[in-house]
Symmetry: C2
Subunit: 398 residues, 2 copies
Amino acid sequence: LPPHSVDEQLTYLKKGFAEIIREEDLRSRLEQAEAAGRPLRVKAGFDPTAPDLHLGHTVLLRKMKHFQDLGHRVIFLIGDTTGLIGDPTGRNITRPPMTRGEIERNAETYKTQVFKILDPAKTEVRFNSEWMGPMRFEDVVRLCGKYTVARILERDEFSKRYREGTPISLHELLYPMVQAYDSVALGCDVELGGTDQKFNLLVGREIQRDYGQEPQIVATVPILEGLDGIEKMSKSKGNYIGITETPADMYRKLMNMPDHLIWRYFELLTDLSIEEIERMKIACMDLREAKRDLAKRIVTDFHSAQEAERVESSWGQAPPVESLEHHTITDPRLNRALVQAKFAPSVTEADKLIKAANTVGVTRVETGEECALTGPAQRLEPGEYIVRVGKKYKHVAV
Amino acid sequence: LPPHSVDEQLTYLKKGFAEIIREEDLRSRLEQAEAAGRPLRVKAGFDPTAPDLHLGHTVLLRKMKHFQDLGHRVIFLIGDTTGLIGDPTGRNITRPPMTRGEIERNAETYKTQVFKILDPAKTEVRFNSEWMGPMRFEDVVRLCGKYTVARILERDEFSKRYREGTPISLHELLYPMVQAYDSVALGCDVELGGTDQKFNLLVGREIQRDYGQEPQIVATVPILEGLDGIEKMSKSKGNYIGITETPADMYRKLMNMPDHLIWRYFELLTDLSIEEIERMKIACMDLREAKRDLAKRIVTDFHSAQEAERVESSWGQAPPVESLEHHTITDPRLNRALVQAKFAPSVTEADKLIKAANTVGVTRVETGEECALTGPAQRLEPGEYIVRVGKKYKHVAV
């Protein structure tokens, strides 16, 4: 990449952050780095748990990539110290201490996933046990001496729990200190995280100052809405696209998402600049076109341009009606129709399929249009349909 | 010493404690120890600072001794870990980290002082750096996982500071955990301390339970009133008797203390049992006799019976009037008299001498009785006096 002016860098980097503390500091740090001919050191921390990343996680990874695009050094920090400890209260039996082997395996899985976005050559993968492991009691006391209880309890989550009388175990107060000390150990210029991490990231600034370092710039990425357009994208909500999903599944899920998410996804899930996105918005005559463009870009990112072409060109092309199993339906309610077409053994099972995101698709044969699905008891108008459940298609006449 | 029944032990041990948590537990622990043929392990913790012990400190040491008298094992624990760290906030410049050498020297000074009361053969002197030094971050987290923030902040001192917004540094929360863990490391049956230590001692019970140990019995000693009879005995208040003071100074200070302290001091500063003290109270016709007995016992404890005899027999014997410098006074106010007798250069200085504890003594020559001093402007009745300031006597006629 050609060298970029500080202004250009700033414009590129600013996109997609919820907050930068503070933008003027980021500017002067970029100037310093340029003057010194050194890259910025940009950290983001990750749990050592088994990763199964979805697009929600890529918002942060993409901002890491943007720093790399400009030649900066990105540190992918795995917070293995806490994983090695497990739950010290012993209350959470689902959180036993991890072994070094498990953590290594999880790290490998992380790498195969995050290197779909990050450039391995510009990424430092580090484990905080490197400096936390040798730390002794006296070092912990010295670190904790730099912060007050009141400041820690100011954190929203803690103050709420403290007010409500929900126990806060003493060790939990140590964790923000660890995250802060990680920045000292790594000499970070910038730390990235979700908006929910803002407090911890800010502690880093104060602790760095205490250790004689310039406080890091803190930049938070927003939480990505899931495919339902309402809730945060998460695996447990089923409103997600995993980054290892097939091109066809990715494409289909994106094409079926609500229209109001399109530009948001462009902002948070592509490398397009704000100006480019604004220009597209103005030029856009058909949101389905924009959605198609977005879906193609995302499939290209996680698979390839060829895969994206292939999936795009076959999109909407259901198998020929003649080749499909045929059912004539007497009850027009969608869930009953699924039972009668032998997609489901019972109405209850049919209801589950319909409620699951993107599992059921209904296309009118005459028009080729996909029907908007509103719920299990939705009535299909008389006519012929191609009904899809997962990857299975059937021809249904009502 | 002949073996004592659990009842006898309990009666002897109970004396002089402000609180025992709980007495029935102490009884059953004594029974267990007797059944197992093992002594109890009894801990008291001390700061690694340079000690200059006074009678106030001996209340605790004497209770330690009482456990030794009954054959139990006493652990004199020096909390050197915190001393080695100093003030991690860097705010308190008068608390730099101590060196190992300083701590060793302080420990030696402790020994020469505390072994005036404790039996060296039954005393284990330990340093908590032994187990805190090798402790690593993960061990600290495990320890802290066993306690909640709310519990720690319940402690009077912390809750007051938290309410008032006086900063509590995070590392301060670690110290009660250390003291508690000391009990685990040492396998304590009993921990002794001042009433102001009650919270920390109780944390020990909970942490021991978490580590699978029977919780220690906690026993607190009251704060000893100083020679003014009002405030806590302390060096800074000048109302103390240091345990290395001369027999004459100890005797004099005790003979001049307020009468209402006599039985309190018998309880907290001698090995007499409650019954013995009660019998003395009933038999006592003259408080000066009781005071003389107390003073003699304390001098015997810290010096010897011979020294005590010697100081007692010479007590009240001011030098012969003929040998003293003579002054005739025109102003009967005590402070003016001191100036006129050339004890003080100014009334202000005379006031200071009179206000200082035990510095000025006035004895009527005719009766040999010491006058009760009420304040700097007290008027001396016409007559002859031997006036003492410190160790200097003069003959004064009003």
